[in-house]
Amino acid sequence: MYKFLDKAFSIIIKLLTLFSLLLLAFIIIFIFKESLVFFKEVSVLKFLTGRTWNPLMSPDKLSILNIILGTLYISLVGISIALPIGVGSAMLLSRYAKGRKRAMIRGIIDILAGIPSVVYGFIGLLVLVKLFEKKLDLPAGESVLAGGILLGIMVLPYIISTCDETMEKVYEYNLTSSQALGVSNDYFLRKVVLPNSKKGIIAATVLALGRAMGETMAVMMVIGNAPITPKLLGKAQTIPSLIALEMGMAEVGSLHYHALFASGFVLMGMLLIINVIIFYVKKSIDM
């Protein structure tokens, strides 16, 4: 009986996994196919290295180097803000919050993940951008920094939850041994919990980075969407917001339409490269 169920289970698991992977592969193929039309007209190299994006002009003017840089810059700013804060608070959670209390706190933090991007975008535009204009005396507060901060807040719940799960286990398992040495809990966190949560932190970073690089609506509201060379306090454009901004209007089947898919494809390529790098980082940690 269980034997049969076990076989069935393993077959079902394998089929579902296969289905998932096919579905995901299908998405990749879908995006690739739509981009191909564009790459037949404009060389990949030109697309990647040119600095102007102007859909009103000839296809030569559809190139996304500035936008790639903008995407990387903003995600990087976002992650470098969120990671230390997220890891810090995850440790704070394992240290001071137990049982129900911890679950409650995490629930509240998780709610942050559900607030619609549009709302984040509006808060960003009305608060963050405004603040920049006032305090930094910028003519317009739309900037990489504003986008980064906003993204940082948006990915925090992912970082905190993912780290906290790992840390809780490391913490619980080793706490007694550490306490027995008379060592303070902070020292314990620093020397045992933090280093042994590396994998959790990497998993969190991967999740957050994917989320950050793919985030659309909120970023779109606060970065000005100008496809110029990004500067910390200047406007910029990211690939997802470019797609969201222009997809709705682009004439179906036009080169512009396919160029937007091509930029989506480039974004996926970027994530692939980053993931491969992280894969090797992880491997070196295993050693």
Binding site: K14, L16, T17, I27, A103, P116, V118, I153, E165, D186
Partner: protein, 278 residues
């Protein structure tokens, strides 16, 4: 620098992070509550949107129901697939190569902009499979969106179950399936539920994937999986994008937060309820 000082700095870092997180949460919540609370009343929650343009008056009830249903479908779809994939990778897969291929595909997916997923869902589900612009199409598209989040975390959670316990189970000659359902799943049920809740919240707040696949400006409460639906984030998108009513938009956001809050509490109750029977 001596250890005590380092530890103090370390503690400061933790506390500082905690304060930042705490104050961001408070700020965001207070901001939304302050701007939205005035519009919230029973009528807002329980009636249809009205007024010209639509949404300036009346309520958002169909959007609340629509969003919950979308989330439900997305969570079921994504959890079944993501958990299977995670179980396969952790318990069944013996080849490191397949494992890394799965990882790379999944993690690249995590970054596909949601608008592109929307286009994909539209092309595959709405246009080719003729599922129409519907609850089902929208739910599945959202499910595809949250799949990577659940998979990455489910995998991590499964891996953290102590190997010696799993070995003890195998040592009894018990099958993997039984070990999974009777031993592993009960141990990490709580964490998995929390991962799904987090992803569900994300699905519930996303507008881009459903714009083309299922969300409409007005629809009554859906009668079947093939009906189009209203959804809170899309409603918000129209209210803010066309400058229809920012107050109603904040109120809508507030309702969404309250819903997420309730869902989280339910999930909590679910994890904590079942203590060992005596």
């Amino acid at each position: 620098m001596n250890e005590k000082l380092k530890s103090t700095l370390f503690k400061l870092w933790m506390i500082f992070s905690g304060i930042i997180v705490f104050s961001s949460i408070v700020f965001i919540f207070v901001y939304i509550i302050k701007n939205g609370i005035r519009e919230i009343n029973l009528e807002f929650i329980f009636s249809n949107p009205k007024g010209i343009p639509l949404g300036t008056e009346g309520g958002i009830f169909p959007a609340i129901v629509g969003s919950l249903l979308l989330m439900l479908i997305a969570c079921i779809f994504a959890t079944v697939l993501a958990l299977s994939t995670a179980v396969y990778v952790v318990l069944y897969c013996e080849s490191k190569r397949i494992e890394s291929i799965v990882h790379i595909i999944v993690q690249c997916m995590a970054g596909v902009p949601s608008i592109v997923l929307g286009l994909f869902g539209y092309t595959l589900l709405v246009a080719n499979l003729k599922l129409g612009r519907s609850l089902l199409s929208g739910g599945i598209t959202l499910g595809v969106m949250i799949f990577p989040f659940i998979e990455v975390r489910a995998e991590k959670i499964l891996r953290e179950v102590s190997a010696s316990i799993i070995n003890s189970s195998y040592a009894l000659g018990v099958s993997k399936a039984y070990t999974f359902f009777k031993l592993v799943l009960p141990i990490c049920k709580g964490d998995i539920i929390s991962a799904v809740t987090l992803a569900g919240g994300f699905a519930m707040g996303a507008a881009a994937p459903i714009i083309l696949t299922g969300a409409v400006i007005f629809a009554p409460i859906p009668k079947s999986l093939s009906s189009p639906v209203m959804a809170l984030p899309f409603h918000l998108y129209i209210l803010t994008g066309e400058g229809i009513s920012l107050e109603k938009a904040y109120a809508t956001a507030l309702v969404l937060i309250m819903l997420l809050f309730i869902i989280n509490i339910l999930a909590l109750a679910l994890t904590f309820r079942r203590k060992e029977p005596s």
